[in-house]
């Protein structure tokens, strides 16, 4: 096969590329330049998108003896991922930019371009597994629960899965690092990137403030209705947040308080006890099915609402263009805009964007 490997310059995609070469494929490495402002890293930064990362990827490609190119997808990335991220926060939602990137950039813009250029597949360093099922390729969780990235791949459709390869899904991160070391790849000890790649300092609130400006409002107690403090913008708050509220007075009972409501229109952030956060059902829009549609009959599945969240038993069905998910065990603190990914055991069934939640039992 002709395989294009998306190489970030990190240890995972480097080993993925090496394994594709070992498998006998004709491999080409491509580094995606996603930042509009091309900068060198400071040598310590944990990123994937600086010119130093491009250099790391190039050096791995040299070592593997494969052609290597940089594709500038900064415009596409800004439009599909960054603009969407800021807009979602403006609306009071909590988006997951990695999901959008996989949906619009890696497995659409990159994959389509690769296919047009006569490649058969795109391989990445994601931790997930593709299993050939009777109804077509199935997406499954990775073996390493710590590293499993099937959640952020829940946006892939059958056509995309059919042309995707995840060479790392059957191994643990430790094993991959050891393999990188054994192969003599210079990136073997490079730290993992955890932050949002376009916010390298990790300060999302400050980033959003630069994008959206100051939009002051009240922080209100859910039970008394009393105004407890002022804030600079609702976008700095997400449902379930406890830290950084900077309340001058403790709650009457001394118990910690959490963000339970974010209203963009009135700029009001409501805080209250954790019980108010329990979600018993949710409604997802824009569903994407990895193998085949869920159907209208309620099905017992597992639901996960965060990249490293705990999956809970759920009953889900399709209704019109939506997915109705009844959580058999409530999940505490779900913000609109998060993705719900549905699993059948280890198999990803599909995903949807959470548009409504029900908190009363």
């Amino acid at each position: 096969m002709r395989v294009l490997v998306a190489m970030s310059g990190g240890v995972d995609s480097s080993v993925a590329a090496a394994r594709m070469v070992d498998a006998g494929h004709e491999v080409v490495g491509v580094h995606l330049a996603l930042s509009r402002n091309k900068t060198y890293g400071d040598g310590r930064q944990r990123g994937c998108c600086t010119l130093d990362d491009a250099r790391d990827a190039r050096r791995v490609a040299d070592k593997l003896g494969i052609p290597f190119y940089v594709w500038d997808m900064a415009e596409e990335f800004a439009e599909a991922v960054i603009d969407d991220f800021v807009e979602e926060y403006r609306l009071g939602h909590t988006p997951n930019p990695c999901l959008r990137c996989n949906e619009s950039i890696k497995f659409t813009a990159v994959l389509d371009r690769a296919l047009a250029m006569d490649f058969d597949a795109v391989a990445t360093g994601h931790y997930a597994q593709i299993v050939q099922g009777s109804a077509g390729p199935e997406l499954h969780r990775a073996v390493d629960p710590e590293k499993d990235q099937s959640y952020v791949l829940g946006v892939l459709q059958p056509r995309q899965l059919a042309h995707s390869i995840f060479p790392l899904g059957a191994d643990t991160k430790d094993a991959i690092r050891a393999e990188a070391e054994a192969r003599g790849l210079l990136v073997a000890q490079k730290p993992d990137s955890h932050d949002i790649c376009f916010i390298p300092d990790g300060d999302t609130a400050a980033y959003l403030q630069r994008q959206l400006g100051s939009l002051p409002g009240d922080i209100v107690d859910a039970e008394s209705g009393e105004v407890l403090a002022q804030h600079d913008g609702t976008y700095a708050f997400t449902i379930g947040q406890r830290r950084g509220l900077q309340l001058s007075r403790p709650a009457a009972d001394g118990a910690p308080r959490y963000v339970v409501e974010v209203e963009v229109g009135t700029r009001r952030v409501t805080v209250g006890p954790p019980e108010l956060l329990d979600v018993y059902a949710l409604e997802g829009i824009k569903p994407i099915w990895t193998t085949s549609p869920l159907g209208k009959a309620p099905t017992e599945l597992l639901a996960q609402v965060r990249a490293h969240g705990v999956p809970v038993p759920a009953r889900a069905h399709e209704l019109d263009e939506r997915v109705i998910v009844e959580l058999l065990v409530p999940i505490r603190g779900i913000a609109l805009g998060q993705a719900v990914v549905l699993y059948d055991g280890t198999r990803v069934v599909g995903s949807a964007t959470i548009a409504a939640t029900t908190r009363a039992a």
Partner: protein, 398 residues
Amino acid sequence: MSDRSYLDHAATTAMLPAARAAWMSASEHLGNPSSLHAAGRFARKVVEESRESIAADLKTRPSAVIFTSGGTEADNLAVKGLYWQRQQILGTRKPLRVLASAIEHHAVIDPVIWLGEHEGALIEWLGVDQDARVSTTALADLLANNSDVALCTVMWANNEVGTIEPVERIAEICKEHGVRFHTDAVQVLGQVPMDLGALGADAVTISSHKIGGPFGVGALIVNPATGFTPVLHGGGQERDIRSGTLDAPAIAAFAVAIKHGVEQQVAHAQHLRELRNELVQGVLATVPGAVLNGDLDLSGDGRLPANAHFSFPGCEGDSLLMLLDAAGVDCSTGSACTAGIPEASHVLLAMGVDERTARASLRFSFGYPSTMADVDRVVAALPGAVDRAARTVSSRSS
């Protein structure tokens, strides 16, 4: 026939065997050209003989040849050195004006912009027509209307589209107005006759590795009467204009490459032109919609004989480059790169080409090892590559 075709000689070309031999021979001798003992004198002799050889070949005086580490350093020295020198003559730190063509190489554009940002220099970018040629009447008007011009810099030939600029006329106009003139001649050396004595520019940039010499050496050919404020300070080796230990073996090889280039220029240009014209004909005949950029007169003196530059509307240049690379053809998008990220060419944009078309462009440049087999390989591979690359664009915009 070798299994690959290298058609990017404007980026760098193969080292000439005679230049390599000269380098090897000079490198067998120990000695710093600035040392006063016998070893130093030997190395100095190598440098000075090379200087004299280069001066004779380019029809100038040995004292005009200032060796540098390459074209970029020579361009920086010319732009900054002439600007600061002008301020010194006028006894002012007041910002002066810099005239530069909009299609210069980044080694000129970036020092000019730097002078604007750090020294407050007033910058006038000289526009070009659709062939990428600077208007001498617009230049004359600018000089007539501004008395604060420190220097004018216009490249002898453009590195992307190969357009040869009217540098003789520009040098005259500058002289009439008492304005210093620099030209970057990196691309023309060996392809076009060069008589620097007759040209009368204040500074001319040349580079070794573009003509079959080694990397890491170049020269600024100066008018010794024109002062230059140094950019690199130190031992003052090159007339106090440039400091740094001279690389005698590289300079010896550079001189050999220049001699070869000047002696062979007519035959070499003829060889390059034949291949280039064959390629242009083949591409325009086999690739629907292909457009030749730059001066369209392929038999005249307005275009570098080695250069062919096309746009393939509806394609992405870097997809095309990848596909041709896979088909065994080394070519270039011709534009500036940062860590392999191609940008839309400022040259094509200055010529009035829209950004989309600018991104759909490729440069093929021939050199002395090129053969008709290279042309055949491109003409065979290009239609399929263009067809595929067009699909990558439609998939990206959908």
